[in-house]
């Protein structure tokens, strides 16, 4: 029954745009509102956009070989953007109270019905218009109070775009096969007694996005995402509790190699299990290697996030903004060297595969209806461009088609597929040799190999602390797991401190957290060298407190 329902829903949304009831309702309600929505003596809206997303998803979760959740979710939600003023100065990008951190959003009927869809848009538009009128006057008062002279505008000039995708034939998803696979994979953890708790979640979702704006742009796109996420909890020998997760994300379940994913989960489980007994570290200053996920996150947290999300919105309580918005920190370095000269970076959302591997950050049109092209970001170490949406900033007068945003968040500039290329490459073994030699030169007993770092940083640090890290003994060349530790003062300097990179590249697919606190996640890919050698990192013993070990033994291993 459930399966039938999902198939019906997908089929129900397949006609071309001229027959698409939802899109037609959006366009007609748009026309009515842009021409008629006005309070006597008050300004009319000059810009309106509607976004409606249909989502059909299947979620199954298992622990130690047993299913714990097995659910379908079908939803249709939408948001509205209504602006008063003009492109140079309008009611957007201003936060005067807590509710302003998220867009106006509502649930829509899951069935295609012209009147029912228009009714929800009518209510959203009415709320949006009234809110925009007030916001415009508040923003204007703020500008005057702060005597702000540097006004860069609120909406770029863009040509209208029509982009209607033909619905792809989504292959039949064998629910039972994947359910059985999740059970099987979650059973792997029965072998690893140091792991206290584990869950394996599988999610398959199909997303249809529809968008119209009052400038004549409209689009309809289809996408899907298949992901497997593994969650673990371990308390190491010293008593530190570590909660960690690892994601495997693809554009389609057909792209996933279940046997390979199973092996990777097995490796992850073994590695985490083995990290139970780690060697303490007092203070380390010296070279380090970041490998695999750690390399991907190194580039994301230090670089990609810090050239995204610009500009930050104005806020009445400016000092609070840092708690609710992830403010980028590299945007003022345009034209400056941020990487060594052998590193260049570009973003190209138009490609969907790299060496046969899915790139989850791909898209044909951004969420504001701007078509992307290949974007050169760093050339020979120098920052040439940052991501931009339709919010102008200083010399940025045009969007570079990186306006991205879920329904829970305002659109902000965000990465698609980030290609980080290096001209100074070596084999992995050569890099290890280099690392050891650097350690020898500095009279160190060991050097660092970091394989996984936290996805989020704490205490205003720029980068998450190590989750899986090793001391590499210079004499024996043996890797010894490291006890819980913290980076001490890693800054943007680390980007320039990249000494060399692997000649192998990895695809790091992940879901980027949006900058607004209320935000969701944006599928993103980083294609970067598999290993990077950094000249110097500082690592110290963690300041976190240990926790008492469990009173009883794990019943399964008892």
């Amino acid at each position: 029954m459930k399966i039938k329902l999902i198939i019906l829903l997908i089929l129900g949304s397949c006609p071309l745009f001229s027959e698409d009831i939802v899109l037609n309702a959006m366009k007609d309600e748009m026309k009515r509102n842009i021409s008629k929505l006005q309070f006597e003596n008050l300004n009319k809206p000059y810009f309106i956009s509607y976004s409606i997303y249909d989502s059909t998803s299947y979620f199954v979760s298992a622990s130690l070989g047993s299913i714990k959740q097995d659910n379908f979710y079908i939803s249709r939600d939408g948001k509205v953007d209504i602006r008063i003023g003009n492109k140079d100065f309008d009611s957007s990008n201003f936060i005067s109270n807590f509710d302003d951190y998220k867009p106006l959003r509502r649930n829509f009927p899951i069935e295609d019905d012209y009147d029912a869809i228009r009714k929800v848009l009518w209510l959203l538009s009415d709320d949006g218009y009234k809110a925009a009128l007030e916001k415009y006057s508040q923003k204007d008062a703020y500008r005057k109070k702060k005597d702000i002279k540097e006004i860069y505008g609120d909406l770029t000039e863009e040509n209208p775009v029509v982009h209607i995708e033909k619905e792809p034939e989504f292959p039949q998803f064998d629910f039972n096969k994947y359910k059985e696979w999740v059970k099987k994979v979650s059973n792997i953890f029965r072998k690893y007694k140091n792991i206290q708790d584990s869950d394996v979640n599988l999610n398959y979702s199909i997303l249809t996005k529809r968008f119209v704006n009052s400038e004549g742009t409209f689009y309809k796109t289809y996408s899907s995402q298949f992901s497997v996420s593994v969650y673990i909890q371990i308390q190491n020998e010293t008593g530190y509790k570590i909660n960690d997760s690892k994601d495997f994300i693809y554009n389609s379940f057909l792209s996933s190699d279940l046997t390979k994913t199973e092996q990777q989960i097995e490796n992850y489980a073994r590695t985490i299990n083995d990290s139970y007994k780690g060697e303490k570290i007092d203070y380390y200053v010296g070279p380090a290697i970041f490998e695999d996920d750690a390399a991907g996150e190194f580039f994301n947290q230090l670089f990609v996030r810090n050239i995204s999300f610009n500009p930050k919105p104005w806020a009445e309580k400016d000092e609070w903004l840092k708690y609710y918005y992830d403010i980028p920190k590299l945007t003022e370095r345009l034209g400056k060297r941020i990487f060594p000269a052998f590193i260049s970076v570009y973003d190209n959302p138009l490609v969907s595969l790299y060496n046969g591997i899915d790139l989850t950050g791909s898209y044909k049109i951004d969420d504001e209806g701007v078509k992307p092209e290949k974007l050169e970001i760093v050339k020979k170490g120098k920052l040439l461009n940052i991501y931009s949406s339709r919010i102008p900033y200083k010399d940025i007068k045009k969007s570079n088609a990186h306006g991205r945003g879920s329904l829970y968040s305002f659109i902000s500039p965000s990465a698609g597929n980030v290609f980080i290329n290096s001209e100074k490459t070596f084999t992995h073994n050569e890099l290890i040799e280099k690392l050891i030699n650097m350690g020898k030169e500095q009279d160190l007993d060991y050097v660092l190999v970091i394989k996984k770092i936290g996805r989020t940083s704490e205490n205003e640090k720029l980068i998450g602390d190590p989750i899986i890290a090793y001391k590499l003994d210079i004499k024996t060349k043996k890797e010894i797991p490291l006890d819980v530790s913290e980076f001490d003062g890693i800054g943007f300097r680390a980007l320039r401190d990249i000494m060399a990179t692997d000649n192998m590249y990895l695809v790091y697919n992940f879901n980027q957290k949006e900058p607004f606190y209320s935000g969701n996640y944006i599928p993103t890919s980083i294609i970067c060298p598999k290993t990077i050698l950094i000249q110097e990192v500082e690592l110290k013993k963690t300041e976190k407190k240990t926790e008492k070990k469990p009173y009883l033994k794990n019943p399964y291993f008892n």
Binding site: L64, S66, Q69
Partner: protein, 564 residues
Amino acid sequence: MKGILVGLSFLLSQNLYCEEYNKDALLESMSEELTRSYQNLKNAEKSPLYFIQYEAWDEKSFWISSNLGVINNEDESAQITLSADIRIGNRHLDNTHEIKGKEGRNWEANSKEIETIIAPFNDKDAIKVKLWNLTDRAYKDALNKYLKVEMNKQVTAEEEDKSGDFTDEKTTDNFYERAKELKFDKEKIRKILKSLSLKFKKYDFILDSQISFIYTNENRYIVNSDGAKIVTGNNYGLISFSLSARTTDGMDLSRYKTYSFDSQDKMPTQDLISLDIDKTIDELKTTISSPIQEPFSGPAILENRAAAVFWHEIFGHRVEGHRQKSESEGQTFAKKIGEKIMPDFLTIYDDPNIYDFQGQFLRGYYKYDDEGVKAQRAVLVENGILKGFLMQRVPLEKFPSSNGHGRRSEGNMTVARQGNLIVESKNRVPYQKLRELLIEEIKKSNKPYGLIIKDIAGGFTITERSLPQSYTVLVLYALRVYPDGRPDEPVRGFNMIGTPLQTFQKIIYSGDDEDVFNGTCGAESGWVPVSAVSPSLLFSEIETEKVEKSNEKQPILKPPYFDK
């Protein structure tokens, strides 16, 4: 012949009991891990663990909603949630003891929130590993809290009620009765909802409307170190519709109606709901153009269903046992046992064992509470005299035992809650007579009019000592009744307010028209299904206040399908 049949069915049910009982992986794993945890943890530290309980909520639910003739949303889920309750110390003083004084003002100090986890289905090993983790965290938290309690007790003033933290009784029942999941014809339900929701489309003054169907099959599992092993379940079906409008002066008005049932054959018919929708739309339409009720004091009738909510909010919450001993509570009734607190024609009790009232299913029906205590009738007021309280396993000086009212939803500690609150009156008159008596009261009190409160959204009552001990009943639909025979006039924009002891004394008659309020009540221990039954009540005097307005203007444009 009858005797043989009875005997046979008894044997059959016994066999069924044993078979299901023995193959229930969830129950077995809870029971085995509880035994292991209790044996090994009871003396693991200097402060002894003296009681442990696991509770699991095995819930399956689905929800369909419709708006303007189309399906708005549809959802289905199945999940088992687990929680662990651990008591450190002894029955006189344990980790659940209230923290008082300055420390007690910390939000977390007396929080009733507890951790829950989602359990795997049907695999004992997997369930036990989750329970082991949960128990370890709960045990450490309990030890930590107990140390704080011990010191707080020494540095703060002595409590008035010294009856301890946990009752002496042992809950040792073994009971297995899972509620079977009901099968509904979903296609038929979709069709009915779509047809009914289309009715709202004809009216341009309706801002928003929805009709929904929600079904939950809930089976609760309780095992504890006293020896209780209980599996008990309920089915909860709910159809509800809601509609809203906005007045020109910026007041948001809404109406809703719910229908509760626990089996397919008790579902309301489409015709019945359809008639109710028509009636509610008419009433909302007349309310939009009705005058705002200025603050008023005078005679009023609270109609049966609204009166049932009134009792639930204003009386029921104040006779919850834990409120009689908490030093932060108003304790309105704590010292009034044996005293007259309301007119002597009123008797009130709470009995979760009552399955229905005049054929109407009661949502507050259950067999065992969340502490494994068998549900019992709690006599609260007899002929106007306060007789008792709703009790969980937290004793009071004169009430050392639970009467099976310890309730909660997932993620919260148990407190005493209502089940089926039943109000009986000896001063019953037919409704028409009650109306005549209202007019007499209006004349007697020289008021220009009285009020009939026909529908309410609910209400709330403040029981904390730091705030006024008042209540508020949120009125949705009411009429002014004029003594000179003018037609009744709808009014809007007011709440009924007051303090309980004073208000009860103003009840002078009741109708003979008892009706049921079925709802879901939220309090410190989460959301629990409840019912209340009451006749209409005539008050010699009530007080009202104006409601807060949204102050939003009406939509600028008409609904799109009216703008052609």
